[in-house]
Every structure is written in C-alpha cells, then in structure tokens.
C-alpha cells in the first residue's frame, strides 16, 4: 500500500536549511501508517498529562492486533520499573537503569502484576521469561515521585522547572524475555527485552511493539494540561455522537458501501474526522513569542483496520492561528475496502504537551 508523502516532506528542502528536517522527509511508496496490519499500539492516555509530584497517574493504552493470522494472542505488558529524570530526558538513557529500577508504588490495573513489580531486572538471567513478573493489561498506574521536580537536573532555557517519568510497555504476541547483553555493544539504544514465541524464537516487528509514555510533573500550579476532548465525529457532514469509554470515546459507527472500482484512487471518499472544541486549545504558558503567550498544537492521527485514509494525520489547531477550520477542512478521507466486512477506524487526538484522547468508530462495509 502506498503511503502518501507528507506535505512537510515537500517543504523539507527548505526546512533542511535549518537542519530541522529528519524522518518526516520520507518518500512515498512505503507502508501506510494508518492501516493496521500488525500488532500496534496506537496511543496512550494519561489522566493527568501534567501531574504534580506525588500524584498518582492512570495510564490507558489503545492497542490493536491487526495481524491477518494470530498464532498467539497479543498481550499488553508494562515494565514495572519506571524511569525518573533520565539524563537529557532521553528515553534510551533509562535502559541503564533497568537493572536497578525503583519498581513502582503503583501497580497494574489490568491482569495485574505484583505491586512493586520486578524492579532490578538486571538480577535476572538473560532468556528468563519475564511475562509472569510483568503487570499486564491496557492500563497501569504510576505514582510521581515526591521529588520529581527537584530531582531533575536544572535545564537552562526551561522557564518552569519540571520532572519527568517514563513508563515502558510492550504489546507482544508471545512472551517477554530479558535479552542478553552482547559484549562490546555500545549502542545506547540497545533493547533490554524482546518478544518471543513459545519456542523461544524472537518475534519480528509485526508481532510486538516496544512503547513508552512520558509523564511530566510540575510544582507550579499554573502548569496544567488536560487531555483534549471530542465533541462529535463528523461523517460526511453529519454529526455522530460520542460517549466516554474506559479510554477515549466510543461511537455508534457508520456503514458505507464497498469499493467497486478497479483503481483504488477512484474509490468513493468518505469525509470523516473528529471535531475538537476550542476549549481544548489550551494556552501554553511556556511558549511565549515576542511577548505573546501561544497555545497548544492539536492534531489527529487516523487508523483503520481496513480500507485506507488519504493522509495519516491532520492538523486541527495551530499554535498561533488556532482552529484550522471546520470539519470540512480538517476531515480526512476514508476509502472503503473492496470487500464487505466489519472493522474499526480510530481518531487519536494529540496535543503537543502529552495530552491525548481517541474515538473508536465501528465501520460496516456493505
């Protein structure tokens, strides 16, 4: 499936002059990010994107197993060690802490691992099946350290002191094993764990995702952030109601005919997208340009289990302009598959300060 080249890639020659262009400048002709054909984590939602030291934060994952065949079910695991204030705020700097993880005072909200978890994985032998030791399920609670902010190394250029906690999780269609440390390996990104099948064969990218979520802590009472909300879902100009679910929003879904065209580009396009209220476009006190406090950037990622979207993401609110437009401007275009069936599409709405929510839309293709 062809992936449309993002528009930003078209201006990358210009952006490159400032050295700001990297992976977004990928060409066309590659896999479509929006269509789910493997084990995928689509989003995580923290009930407090900006927490206070000592707060307990509830994390909820949105994941889906889109593999055509499923020899083993996908499970969600959480690494029970959490990483506080790694050097340079780099997620990979946490791997060095793996062997001396603090464990966590939280605990699994799902299938449940032992509270306090398996901190100190470095004490275990490589090849050990960690799955019984790991909290599992789509949710997890973590408590921010009381010294989350004060323990963070001072960072010049950040107007408000903050702390950072990183929580790791794995969506794995098998079990999780501790990987051996290869002698001489100096790559700081070297993965500490892997996903294995019952025969201890390490599984590939279609069968697992190693993810992480950052939770920021602020002592300053003015530093708040809430997750964006979704008023309704627009489908071909019609409002589709939404209601809160255990994570994100649920919707009644819609029906659409299957595509009868031989060429995919000729398939009918269903304009769909989330409608996010302007109240979600919060001011960002840290972002001041020429004396003006700017706001969040809000965008939506699009996923589907079948069919395809014409783009994988749409901007909803710009930091200075605000709303990009009404639904007719921000909606994406969904093209149904050639074969009838049932599936899902998701809209994951992000703000650029760690806030997120999503809507799940069942779709029936006649």
């Amino acid at each position: 499936m062809a992936r449309r080249r993002s528009l930003s890639s078209r201006v990358c020659p210009l952006v490159a002059a400032w050295g700001l262009c990297s992976s977004s400048c990928s060409p066309g002709g590659l896999a479509d990010e929006a269509t789910i054909g493997s084990v995928r984590i689509l989003a995580s939602e923290a009930d407090k994107p900006y927490a206070h030291p000592g707060d307990r934060v509830h994390l909820q994952l949105l994941a889906f197993d889109g593999r055509p065949s499923k020899p083993a079910p996908m499970k969600l695991y959480w690494l029970p060690f959490v990483c506080d204030n790694p050097p340079d705020d780099a997620y990979y700097a946490c791997f060095a802490q793996l062997g001396r993880g603090r464990g966590d005072a939280g605990g699994g909200g799902g299938a449940g691992g032992p509270d306090g978890g398996a901190g100190g994985l470095g004490l275990l032998q490589p090849g050990t099946d960690l799955s019984p030791l790991l909290p599992s399920g789509p949710s997890y609670d973590v408590t921010m350290p009381a010294d989350a902010v004060t323990a963070h190394a001072p960072t010049p250029g950040t107007p408000v002191p903050y702390g950072l906690t990183i929580v790791f999780n794995i969506a794995c269609a098998g079990h999780v094993e501790l990987l051996p440390i290869v002698p001489g390996t100096t790559n700081p990104q070297a993965l500490p764990v892997g996903c294995f099948d019952a025969d201890h064969n390490q599984l590939g990218p279609d069968d697992y995702v190693f993810g992480f979520t950052r939770v920021y802590a602020y002592s300053d009472a003015n530093m708040t952030n809430t997750n964006p909300t979704i008023d309704y879902v627009d489908v071909l100009g019609q409002k589709m109601s939404v209601w809160p679910a255990s994570g994100g929003y649920s919707t009644p879904g819609f029906r659409t005919p299957h595509c009868k065209e031989e060429r995919r580009e000729n398939c009918p396009k269903v304009k769909v997208g989330p409608v996010v209220p302007s109240s979600s476009w919060e001011a960002n006190p840290e972002d001041v340009d020429k004396g003006n406090v700017r706001h969040e950037q809000i965008w939506a990622d699009f996923f589907s289990t079948f069919g395809n979207f014409t783009s994988s993401a749409r901007l909803l609110y710009d930091v200075t302009r605000g709303s990009i437009g009404d639904a007719s401007t921000t909606d994406n275009e969904f093209q149904a598959p050639a074969d009838p069936g049932s599936g899902f599409i998701w809209f994951v709405v992000h703000d650029n300060r760690g806030g997120a929510t999503w809507a799940t839309i069942p779709v029936t293709v006649n």
Partner: protein
C-alpha cells in the same frame, strides 16, 4: 609572475672589417713588411730601376668573427681588439695568421678562425700577383641582448594590448616598448646587464620584475596583470566581439597562498548545471565536495560546512545562497572575481578551519551606460552601470527578484498547503565609485538579500507533528560598505574596508521559532610596504563586532554520536531571550620574500581574540613556492599553517551551549606541483593533510579531534576562442573522534572520491554546447531499523545504528548539458539558453526513506532530469 621563455640566440656580430681594410692596407703599406712571397725569393731590383708600386691585397670575402662563446660564458663583457699578422699568398689565400697580443677568453682563437676564412685579391706588384704580409685587426663588441615577452590578464590569460613595458638599466637609462594586439612586446639592441622592468596597462595593477641579460641573450617573459580594482576600466568591445568580463575563482590567490585556480566568467556562464550561477561553479573545483541539496552548504576538504566563511569584498556575510541553494545572493553579472581558498589561506583570513570564499564586486564600467536583463524560470534580473554624468563617479545598480512563487504557490495550494506568502527572494546591489587621482580610489556599496516564505501545512506529519502548522521563514541581510585604497608610492599601498549592516533570521514552525537579529560592524585595514625589491611586508587588522538579539524556542541541540532523541514535539523546547554581542578583533602580518629568482616565501602570523571564550589564538603560517623551470613553468609549493575557529554562537549560548569552551584548532599541511604544458593546458597536483584538535562536541566540550587527508588534481584547458574544459579529481578521507577513547569514525561529510569533467565548445554561428559530468561518493548516513513507539506523539522511533554515519549511499553521477544561442545586434546581444540537469535521469540517491516503523526502506532521489530555459539581453 614571470617566466623566461626564449633560449639565448647568439647574434653573430663579427667585426671586420670592410671599414678596417683601408687602414689595414694603409698600415700594410706603411709597415716595413713586404709581400712574403718576395722575401728573399725575388731578385733585388736594380738600384737604378724605378720602384715598382705594390698594390696591397684587398678583402674579397669576410664572414666576420663572432664574439666568442667562451667570453660570454666567463662573463667577460667588454670591447676587445685583436690584431693579426696575416700572410697572404699570391692567390689571395691566408696562409698564416699570428696574434700580435693575445688577450685570451677565446678572442685569439676566434680572430684566427675568422681570418682563415678571409679571401683576398692578392697583392700586386706591377700588376703581377705576389705574396704579402699585412696587419689585420678584429674589433669585438659584446653582442646586444633582447628582451621580449607577452602581457596577459592574470585571469584567463587574455592578451593586453597597449601595455607599456619599460626596461631600465642600473644607470637609469630606459628602453620602452608597447604591446601589440596579441600582448607581445620586444626590445632589441640592449647591452648586457641588469634591467628593472615595469609593466603597466590602463586599469591594471602595474607589475615589476628584475631581469639580467647576458650578451646575445634573448630573455622572454609572460607577465600577468591583475585588475587594479579602484581604477579599472573596461575597454569597449569591438563591434563583432562579444563583451567579455572576467570572474576569477581562485584556489588561492598568489603570492600569499598555496594554490591558484582561475575560472573566467566565460566559463562560469557556460558550465552546465549551474544556470550561469557563479558560486555554484565552485562545486566543480578540486577540494569541493557535493553538498546536500538545498542546504546552501560548502564542504571543503572534508570540513564541516560551518568551518568555511563567506565574504563580499572582505566583508563577512551570513549566507551566499537564496533559500539554501536556489541561486547566489550576488548575481554573476556583478561579480569581478571569486577568490576561493580551500585551505592554508593567508593570515588576512581567520576564524575558520575550512575554506574561504571571497566574492569581489566588479567596478562599474566608466565608458558609457550599459544594461542587462535576464529572465529564467526562477527569477528575473536587471543591471545598469556607467558614468554618473560628468562627476567622475561611476555607478552600478542591480536587482533581482524571484518569480517562481507565481507557479509554486498554486502548486503548493493544490497539494493542501494554505499559502499566504509563497517563496520569494530578492537581492540588490548599488555601487558608487571614483578614482581619487592615479593612486587612490574610493567605493561605496550597498548590497543585500531577502528570502521569505509562509505556508500553512494542515496535513500534519504523524512522524513530526511539530513540523506542522504555520511554517514561516524570513531571512536576509544587508551591508553598507566603504572601501578606500591608496597606493601612496610604488612601495606603499593601503587598503581600508569598513561595513555595517544587519542580519536577520525569523523562522517558525509549529510551536518552535528562532528569531535572531544582529547588527555587524566589520573593518579591515591593511598596509603593504615594499621594504626591498625582494621583500614586502603586509600588516593589518581585522575587526568583527556584532550586537545581537536572540529569541529562540527550539529543542536542545542534538549531540554527535547519540541516537535521535525523537520528534521535536517529544522534547521540552528550550527558550532563551537575550541581547549580547560578538567581539572578535584580530591582528596579522605577512611577509612576501623572493630571495632568489623563482622562489617565494610567505611567512605570516595572526593573532585573534574571541570574546565568547576570552581566549587569544596565535596562528603562524608559512608558504613556499619554487619555480623549477620557467618555460614551460613548473612550480613546486608547500605550506604549513595553524588555524583557529571560535565555537559557534549556539555552542556558547547559556541555554543551548556550554560554558568553558575554547577555540577549535587545526593545522594545515600542503604540498603540490603545478606545470604548464602549453599556453592553454596546465595541470596541478596537491596533497593536503589537516590535523583537527580541540573540536567542540555538543554536550562534551572541546573533546573532539580528527584528521583530513587527501589529494587533488586538476588538468585544465584554459579558454581559447572556442573551447574550455577541465578534469578534476579529489581523493580525501575525513575522520573524527568525539572524545579520547572513542573510535575514529568517518565524518558525516566525508566524500572520498569527487570527479568532475567539464567542457564547452563554440560551434560557430552563435551556438555553444557544453557538458559537465560528475561522479562522487555517496553521502554518509546512519541506517535505522525497527525500534520504539513514542506514545505521547504517536510515532515510531528508529533504532539507529551505532556509531552514527557508518554507511554510505550509492555513488552519485550526473551529466549536465547546456546549449546557448547568441544573436549579436548593433545594440547588444541576446542569449537564449537551455540548461539541462541530469540528462540521462540517473537515479541518484539523496537519502534513505523509511516507512512509519522503519521496517522498509527506499531511496530518496536527487534532482531528476530538469531542463531550464533562460533568456538574457545585454546592451
């Protein structure tokens, strides 16, 4: 630069003696000598018989005697007389020759040898041939010498007609010649000795040289004159001749640097794939690697782009390309020269470890009003220049504006971008100049550039959401510059360059922005004093002071060798607002010594102060050139120099950088040889080695080091009436180590092989065809693979190979063609051209593209087949 051309052509200046015959005969008559055949053989005449008159022998054939080679070789340089006693038989043949007073040095033998070739009518007594003996004198004078040569332009070796050549003896006696249409001159009949030559031409800097002449020697020389900037005038072209201006692109300007390479504007105009853009032509020179597309970078001898500096007439400027590489900020038409120093440059330049590009603006033409207009797919430009009424001032006014916003804006809109300001750039140049007498001049110039773009990217990039939303850039600069030059005497020259202006960069995308404005004040002053004909001292100051304001919100700087930190949105942006200044004064001196013929030694010293590091840098440098042969010229050369470069402003910034940094250091070593095969064909081979130390590494400090080594070769056919072209090849390796103990790795800008072949041929009837081929090692890159999922941003992060930049993209190749058709009209010329990049659409690779989770890759292509049409009208 002079080179002796001709061999010594001996002039046969025998002295004999048609004029001497009579005295000789008179002497013969007066002397008590008798015809030898009569001595004792003839019966004595009866006393009573009347004496029979004797008619002395007369010269019938005399080939003369040459000033002996031995005397010339022994440095004997005087008039000499040799008197011989000749015995001549009754047939007129010299049967015996005796030197009365030998003088040596080969004169005696020369006189005898010449005498034996004499033929006489025999002496006669009573009408009857008889033998006789006579005295015969040869008078030798040193043969005259000849000076000859050609006077050419330093840039392009075009002949200079009407140049004056004065050869003056030690006593002050002068001999003058004027060059012909082909630039040649000749002075004959010169006594042997030492001469001081002064070659001068209108609008050109005079050139002086010393020449020693042996008797009968013809010494030839080729003298190349450089334009005398303040007083330069351009002769009106002949009606049937296309106006030719020159732009030099010099590897290093002699005599104060190691290498010299020259490209004329005729070449720059016609190099395929450059669109006639002068600065783009730099990429075809040895030592220059291929820069990443649209980044506006210059990679010189394995150095990082920020290690090179750009100047316009000695004034530093922040950028040289619009939008990072679309076209130069100074149009070719207004350029006088481009000095390009790939390394080991003069002490007058500092604060850089890579290369130097110094662009010179052309002096306005003073003969009449000129105009030019050009339109191509990218921009339109106009230029006017000429005398400013009768004020003595000359002016140039030029401007250019892009117009591709007219078609790119709708294209961007069609692809979903909401374009409020489509890409637009413009630049402008204004020059006022006048001569202040014969020896001094003053020039004021204003030049600037402005690029701006604003679009709304409403199709967010899931991989980089921060690079979404309003994308706005506005960059530019302007300078007001004054240049005063005064040649106080033949031995003393002073040059003062001062400028002030503004640089600005306003950039924003998403929630990130970078706004900086600075007001640089720069000044250079240099005094050149000839202390001795063989020694010139240069001393100068070089000031840079720039107050600035900074307002930035950006992610932290990436650390070399570390994995990508993830999307910009995932990092807490750093914010800083500050007002400060950059202050970097410097002093330098450089001495040009020519201790003996063909040798040039240029030691130099530079002292720099950097306010941000509070450090002094002491950089000694030396260059040696030695001509091994004069015709054809062969020169060996070498140089060693220390170079210091302050940390980049962001590296010392309190928020983005670190404290306690000191300057980067480098030592350049160069050796090379140059050889002129013919008037048009020359070749050079240069080897270089750069030791890099104390390099600033983000997040670590001055822990970096490295080496760059390699060789460059250039075989060039200099422009003649129909053809120019060259082949250049650079082999280099650039290595870096981020900290002691870490492995030495290939630098990200390493491009091991760079091959360029360029040629252009005038087919006649106004048609000209050119081709340029490039074959270059691919860029270094870091392979990525499936890694992690950033749930806050909703994007996959790569597991990057380590160490970074450990793989290389495929070889780059491209063939560019250009066809020009020129129509000449009485009022000017029209040039229509087609410039085609990547003619056979080679699938060159500019990078690696990945799918969303880095499990599949594809190549990101470079510029495909790209034709460009243009039209230029010159009045």
């Amino acid at each position: 630069m002079r080179c002796r051309l001709a061999t010594t052509a001996a002039l046969a200046v025998g002295l004999c003696i048609a004029l001497c015959d009579v005295p000789n005969l008179a002497r013969a008559q007066a002397n008590p000598l008798t015809p030898a055949g009569q001595a004792g053989a003839a019966p004595p005449a009866p006393d009573t018989a009347p004496p029979v008159p004797v008619v002395p022998p007369s010269v019938k054939k005399n080939v003369g005697a040459e000033y002996p080679r031995q005397a010339i070789d022994e440095g004997f340089n005087q008039d000499v007389e040799i008197t011989l006693q000749l015995t001549i038989d009754d047939k007129g043949v010299v049967t015996k020759a005796l030197v009365e007073t030998p003088v040596g040095h080969g004169f005696d033998e020369a006189a005898i040898a010449a005498a034996q070739k004499l033929e006489f009518d025999p002496a006669r007594r009573g009408g009857k041939p008889v033998a006789a003996r006579i005295r015969f004198t040869y008078r030798f004078s040193p043969p005259a010498a000849i000076l000859s040569g050609r006077v050419l332009t330093a840039a392009g070796d075009r002949p200079i007609a009407g140049a004056t050549v004065v050869a003056r003896t030690a006593s002050g006696e002068g001999h003058t010649a004027t060059t012909g249409a082909d630039g040649s001159w000749r002075i004959e009949g010169l006594p042997a000795g030492s001469y001081h030559l002064v070659i001068s031409a209108q609008g050109m800097a005079p050139h002086e040289a010393d020449q020693s002449l042996a008797p009968a020697e013809e010494a030839g020389s080729i003298d190349r004159l450089a334009p005398q900037a303040p007083a330069a005038t351009t002769a009106a072209p002949k009606p049937d001749e296309q106006p030719v201006e020159e732009v030099e692109v010099r590897g290093v300007k002699p005599p104060r640097e190691v290498v010299k390479r020259t490209l004329e504007q005729r070449e720059i105009d016609r190099i395929p794939g450059t669109g006639g853009d002068a600065l783009r032509s730099l990429q075809y020179l040895p030592g220059v690697a291929r820069a990443p597309g649209f980044a506006g970078l210059l990679i010189v001898r394995g150095s990082a782009p920020q290690d090179s500096q750009y100047f316009i007439d000695g004034t530093p400027v922040p950028i040289v390309y619009h939008f990072g590489g679309l076209s130069s900020v100074v149009p070719t038409e207004i350029l006088d020269r481009i000095d390009f120093y790939p390394g080991n440059f003069s002490a007058q330049y500092g604060r850089a470890m890579g290369g130097i590009v110094d662009v010179g603006l052309a002096d306005p033409k003073g003969d009449r009003l000129h105009g030019m207009a050009e339109v191509n797919l990218i921009d339109a430009r106009v230029l006017a220049q000429g005398p400013l009424f009768d004020t003595g001032w000359k002016f140039t006014l030029g401007g250019r504006r892009s117009w591709f916003d007219a078609w790119l804006g709708p294209v961007l809109t069609a692809t979903g971008a909401n374009v409020s300001v489509a890409p637009v750039y413009y630049d402008y140049q204004g020059i006022l100049e006048r001569d202040l007498g014969k020896r001094s001049s003053i020039r004021f110039a204003v030049f600037g550039s402005d690029d701006r773009l604003q679009i709304l990217l409403n199709q967010a990039s899931a991989a980089q959401p921060a690079l979404t939303g309003v994308f706005s850039t506005h960059t530019g600069f302007w300078r007001a510059q004054g240049i005063y030059k005064n040649r106080f005497s033949d031995d003393t020259e002073f040059r003062l360059n001062g400028a002030f202006g503004q640089d600005y960069v306003d950039f924003s995308i998403g929630d990130l922005f970078f706004n900086v404005t600075q007001w640089p004040i720069t000044s250079r002053a240099e005094l050149a004093q000839k202390i001795d004909p063989r020694l010139t001292m240069n001393v100068g100051i070089d000031l840079y002071y720039a107050p600035y304001t900074l307002d930035v919100r950006l992610p932290p700087l990436a650390k070399p060798g570390q994995p990508p930190p993830g999307p910009f949105s995932a990092q807490v942006p750093l914010t800083t607002q500050s007002s400060d200044s950059i202050y970097q004064p410097a002093l330098y001196t450089e001495w040009e010594a020519t201790p003996w013929k063909g040798t040039r030694i240029v030691p130099g010293l530079r002292l720099d102060y950097t306010q941000s590091t509070k450090a002094w840098d002491f950089d000694p440098r030396i260059l040696v050139r030695q001509d091994l042969a004069s015709s054809p010229r062969t020169t060996i050369k070498g140089g060693i120099g220390a170079f210091s470069q302050p940390p980049q402003p962001q590296e010392t910034n309190a928020v983005f950088g670190m404290s306690g940094l000191s300057d980067n250091r480098s030592i350049h070593y160069d050796v090379g040889v140059e050889h002129e095969f013919t008037k048009n064909i020359e070749a050079s081979l240069d080897g270089f080695y750069k030791q890099l130390d104390n390099l600033v590494v983000v997040g670590r400090g001055n822990t970096g080091s490295g080496v760059v080594y390699g060789g460059e070769t250039l075989i060039k056919y200099k422009p003649d009436d129909r053809f120019f072209g060259w082949l250049s090849y650079t082999l280099s390796r650039s290595l870096r180590r981020d900290a002691p103990g870490l492995p030495l790795r290939l630098f990200q800008y390493d491009e091991t092989h760079v091959l360029n072949v360029v040629g252009s041929y005038k087919l006649g009837r106004g048609w000209e065809f050119g081709a340029a081929f490039r074959l270059i090692s691919g860029y270094m890159y870091t392979p990525d693979q499936y890694g992690f999922y950033d749930e806050n941003i909703g994007t996959n992060l790569a597991l990057a190979a380590y160490p970074r930049f450990g793989s290389r993209l495929p070889l780059f190749q491209t063939l560019n063609l250009r066809v020009d058709k020129i129509w000449k009209r009485p009022w000017g010329t029209i040039d229509a051209f087609l410039d085609v990049i990547n003619v056979y659409n080679a699938g060159n690779v500019d990078g690696i593209g990945y799918d969303y989770n880095f499990t599949h890759t594809t190549y990101v292509g470079d510029i495909p087949f790209l034709p460009s049409l243009g039209l230029r009208v010159e009045l």
